[in-house]
């Protein structure tokens, strides 16, 4: 009986050792998806409890990827229930629409508030673009890892990143020229 009692203690200890260190990654993703602190905190907490519940099924290969998949799914469930319009946002897919007004990185970097502009531009992007950009540029994940987390084929990760970056360029150009 005492032996059995120790098992959950060991599980908690192992969970704290393996999954808790990735809390920054979890929060950063939830924060970029929801765009506010309060919801991100709630969703990360919910994700962690879910992760703990399913910790037994975790194979031990990639704790960060495994946790981020749970965070991503928890966030999408929340969007379905609270912001369904964000999941269905459609936008003009015209990669060359900025040809007349090309993205000028020099101009962007001259801005004293370039970080603020990038944040603002990224937050204007649709959910699925914020998702791949966060995972790729901020978390530095491979296409393969992103594919698993977002539940899409690796080829789709590349085309989605292409569209996301093109869209981000448009938004930034607009913001920079406004300044």
């Amino acid at each position: 009986m005492w032996k059995e009692r120790n098992v959950p203690e060991q599980t908690v200890a192992r969970f704290e050792q393996v999954v808790l260190p990735h809390m920054d990654a979890a929060y950063n993703l939830a924060r970029w998806l929801t765009r506010n602190d309060h919801d991100a905190e709630d969703l990360v907490q919910e994700s962690y409890l879910r992760a703990f519940k399913f910790f037994g099924s975790f194979q031990g290969a990639n704790a960060r990827g495994w946790l981020l998949t749970i965070v991503r799914n928890t966030c999408y469930t929340w969007f379905r229930e609270n912001r369904p319009q964000e999941l269905t946002t459609s936008f003009d897919e015209n990669i060359h629409s900025t040809e007349a007004d090309p993205f000028d990185p020099e101009k962007l970097l001259l801005q004293s508030e370039s970080g603020q502009l990038i944040k603002q531009a990224m937050e204007e992007l649709p959910l699925e673009f914020r998702e791949v950009l966060t995972l790729r540029e901020l978390e530095g994940l491979s296409y393969k890892e992103i594919a698993v987390i977002a539940g899409i084929p690796p080829g789709t990760v590349m085309s989605r990143l292409a569209r996301a970056r093109s869209r981000l360029k448009q938004c930034l150009t607009k913001l920079v020229n406004k300044e």
């Binding site: 979890a26 020099e106 981000l168």
Partner: protein, 250 residues
């Protein structure tokens, strides 16, 4: 590779996700196409700007604390859950209840028979209350009888009375009259009959006697050196019939 082909693949190239052959194809194209080359430089600048300029949100310290404590709490509740404290509480509560009931209901100075009757009622009520009707569930007398071996210092007579309309359900150990006793469980339709047996302490023969306590019918007698108590919420006539069958089979 032309400029259209490269628009998506250039991102894989930039992220280092392409195989060497495609990398080479893209490098060759970039060397010859000024437009794509210019566009690639802009993409790289954008990537650098995002990587260095976009805010990385670390988890707030209080969130970290909150999550850690809630995980520990869940871990703790999982630790006690399999032990099912509520079940032990239920057992404890019913025992307390029965003790209080017995204490309140037994007037002082009752004779021995009354006290035993009260214990039999308690045993019967307890068996129904905490879903602990039988320790061994079997309608087979050859399963129930050997089960008592080693648990009791006597061998209770066990007889299935299915054919007569009183199927044996199982057996249970109980504690009565300051000693472990055998409780055999029979059924008549939905009524439970507890037949409690232990060796009689004295040779005096006790004639079959019926009592009623708290809505239960009780019949007790002694036979072949054993004390028998039968108790049920069954009607008196059918319980008497059961007793006659037990007496005839023992």
């Amino acid at each position: 590779m032309n400029c259209t082909d490269i628009q998506v693949a250039i991102h894989g190239y930039m992220d280092g996700e392409l195989d060497p052959l495609r990398n080479l194809e893209i490098e060759q194209h970039l060397q010859h196409c000024a437009v794509c080359s210019q566009s690639y430089k802009a993409d790289q600048a954008l990537q650098t700007a995002v990587k260095t300029g976009a805010q990385y949100f670390p988890a707030p310290a209080d969130l970290r604390k909150r999550i850690q404590s809630s995980v520990r709490q869940v871990g703790k509740s999982q630790r006690t859950l399999p032990v099912m404290p509520w079940r032990w509480l239920a057992v404890a509560a019913s025992v307390v209840f029965v003790v209080i009931l017995a204490w309140a209901l037994i007037p002082r100075g009752l004779d021995a028979e009354q006290l035993v009757a009260q214990e039999v009622v308690s045993s019967h009520v307890r068996s129904l209350m905490v879903a602990h009707l039988a320790d061994v569930m079997s309608s087979d007398q050859h399963t129930v009888k050997p089960w008592f071996t080693g648990k009791l210092d006597f061998s209770p007579p066990v007889k299935d009375l299915s054919k007569e309309g009183f199927p044996l359900v199982g057996g249970r150990l109980d504690y009565l009259e300051n000693r472990p006793v055998a409780a055999l469980v029979y059924k008549r339709r939905n009524h439970v009959i507890n037949l409690i047996i232990w060796p009689s302490s004295h040779d005096t023969h006790v004639k079959t006697k019926a009592l009623a306590r708290q809505g239960y019918h009780l019949v007790h007698w002694s036979q072949a050196g054993m004390m028998y108590w039968a108790i049920s919420d069954l009607n008196d006539t059918e319980l008497q019939e059961f007793v006659r069958l037990v007496q005839a089979s023992s």
